[in-house]
Amino acid sequence: MKKDALLSIAGVSFRYGPQIVLKDIDLDVERGEVIGIIGPNGAGKSTLLKLIAGYLSPDKGSIMLSGRPLGDYSRRTLAKHIATLPQTLDMPFPYTVEEFIVMGRYPYDRRSFSYGIEEKEVVLETMNALNIGHLAGRQINALSEGERQKVYLAQCIVQDPGILLLDEPVSHLDIRHQMRVLEILENLQTKGLTILMILHDLNLASEFCSRIVLIARGSIYASGLPAATLTYENIEKAYDTVVIVRENPLSKKPFIIPVSRKYLKADNEKP
């Protein structure tokens, strides 16, 4: 465990009832990293994110933020350091985009009844930076999936956090919106934000993350640079699925091709 790590997770275990979800997780995160958390469904990825966000408490082990245990932070203070976007966020009420995004300023604005002009300016700036300024007066529920995801992200950004935790931020988006959202995140990283996100698309993880953490059956199976972790051995073991790994000709990052079983019978060799 490094002393100066932004986020330091040591020996963390978590059980949900009798079922052990995570066991002995060790992970140090440095400022400015973009970490892609990958792994099969039910491996414990979302639980790990909720533990880091302070929503769940570990049964064993410790999570430190800037050298202090998470539990030492008040909820409001923690919300200024970590912004989290859960996997699903449904909206029962017809908030407009602007009304929704400004809620990200809640930890900062102590006014009783409304948000201050300066908070609204932060919101406007962020909306323009994400190219969603034209949506300000629209109702959240009337937006397309891609637009809505950007709006959700904008709320996290106006929270002005050091760490962004995202649970499958691009899973329901078409390829264009996937790229736009991930480019926004890339841009945030260059401004010093640290990002941990759960991704199901291994190729997107490979392209956009500086580090991959592969979780399988509640433990970290592999952790490191994409080229070191996204090997066909690791993926086949963790996912129990045959893949071919090549190299993206432009980025030189690993490129994963899933292989259908029906082609395996004829040709049983692996590349």
């Binding site: 909720k50 966000a53 302070g54 929503y55 909820r75 409001r76 203070t77 923690l78 919300a79 200024k80 970590i82 912004a83 989290t84 859960p86 966020l89 449904d90 909206m91 029962p92 009420f93 017809p94 908030y95 407009t96 602007e98 009304e99 809620m103 990200g104 809640y106 930890p107 604005d109 006014r111 009783s112 009844f113 409304s114 948000y115 406007l124 909306m127 323009n128 190219n131 300024g133 034209h134 300000a136 007066g137 929270q159």
Partner: protein, 331 residues
């Protein structure tokens, strides 16, 4: 390429609040002056006989209580809808009114007034409301809070409690039953006016406190998990808000019985007009709830004059029709 930010359409908030205030003021004048012209009413305000007495002893207290109860039910609805993230939540559907009515019934049957004095009914109403909300919350709180199961448990608790109330009533003698049945259906006519100085501060104070929770209700309406991430401790907020809504519901029920639909229909209509933001919704629902109950009370008094209807019947019919209309229009 950046798309230019379109100007954000501002809701005409000031205008909406002005219209609401005018409607409310109109309903108050109507409630005080029905059957008389306004100058007579003003003249009688300072007189101690004739219509002045009617104003002092009946119309003013009744209008004050309708105002406070209507407003309180409106904001209780807003609060519960945000917490449960469901526009159908209100004290009535959640069984909180049912609990309060059981408390008041117990107080009546055991004649607790002889022990606790005039405050027995409001106090027992609050206790009943609190007990029912604690039961519902505890049932829906296994491991983590589940708003949907809270609604279902609320309906169950509501049915059980009202059955117990009816069971107790069936043991009463028939004369008493008629009166208590009126009260149970929501009735502003049987109020003990000596309690008005008690109801005014104790219905106003929790309401004013709720107004300060607008921004928090916005965050809570995003769900417990997201609220947590935005710096709130949801279980703590829920508890405070449940106590405030229990005080309001308990006192409302002890004052005027079970008046359904106000907490449901008022926020529902106003959300379409002022938007979902809770600070605006709380203030406008207080005014709107007060207006709705005062005007319903006027109808209950004069629709079948000289027979007086329980106001809960009027709000139920009105509210049901408005809601039906809104739902039909949406689909």
């Amino acid at each position: 390429m950046t798309e230019p930010a379109a100007p954000i359409p501002q809701r005409p908030t000031v205008l909406i609040f002005f219209i609401l205030s005018v409607l409310l003021a109109g309903s108050i004048v109507l409630s005080l002056s029905y059957g008389k012209d306004v100058p007579t009413v003003f003249a009688s305000l300072f007189s101690h006989e004739g219509f002045g007495l009617v104003l002092r002893k009946i119309r003013i207290p009744r209008t004050v209580v309708a105002f406070l109860v209507g407003g309180s039910l409106g904001i209780c609805g807003v609060t519960l809808q945000s917490i449960l993230r469901n526009p159908l939540a209100e004290p009535y559907t959640l069984g909180i009114s049912g609990g309060a009515s059981l408390g008041v019934t117990v107080s009546t049957v055991l004649q607790m007034q002889s022990v606790l004095g005039a405050y027995a009914h409001p106090l027992m109403g609050f206790m009943g409301a609190l007990v029912s909300i604690i039961i519902i919350y505890a049932l829906s709180m296994r491991r983590s809070f589940n708003p949907n199961s809270m609604i279902l448990f609320g309906i169950v608790v509501s049915l059980v409690f009202s059955s117990i109330v009816f069971f107790i009533f069936s043991l009463l003698d028939p004369d008493k039953m008629q009166l208590t049945l009126m009260w149970l259906m929501g009735d502003l006519s049987s109020l003990d006016i000596s309690l008005i100085p008690f109801y005014v501060p104790f219905l106003l104070a929790p309401s004013v406190m709720l107004f300060f929770f607008g921004k928090e209700l916005d965050i809570l309406s995003l769900g417990g998990e997201k609220a947590h991430y935005l710096g709130i401790d949801p279980p703590r907020s829920y508890k405070i808000l449940f106590v405030l809504t229990s005080v309001l519901t308990g006192l409302c029920v002890s004052a005027s019985g079970i008046i359904g639909f106000v907490g449901l229909i008022v926020p529902h209509v106003l959300r379409n007009i002022v938007g979902a933001t809770h600070t605006r919704l709380l203030f406008s629902s207080y005014l709107g709830g007060a207006f709705f109950l005062i005007i319903s009370d006027v109808f209950s008094r004069y629709l079948l004059y000289p027979v007086e209807l329980p106001v809960g019947v009027i709000t139920g019919i009105f509210g049901g029709l408005i809601l039906l209309f809104l739902l039909m229009r949406k689909t």
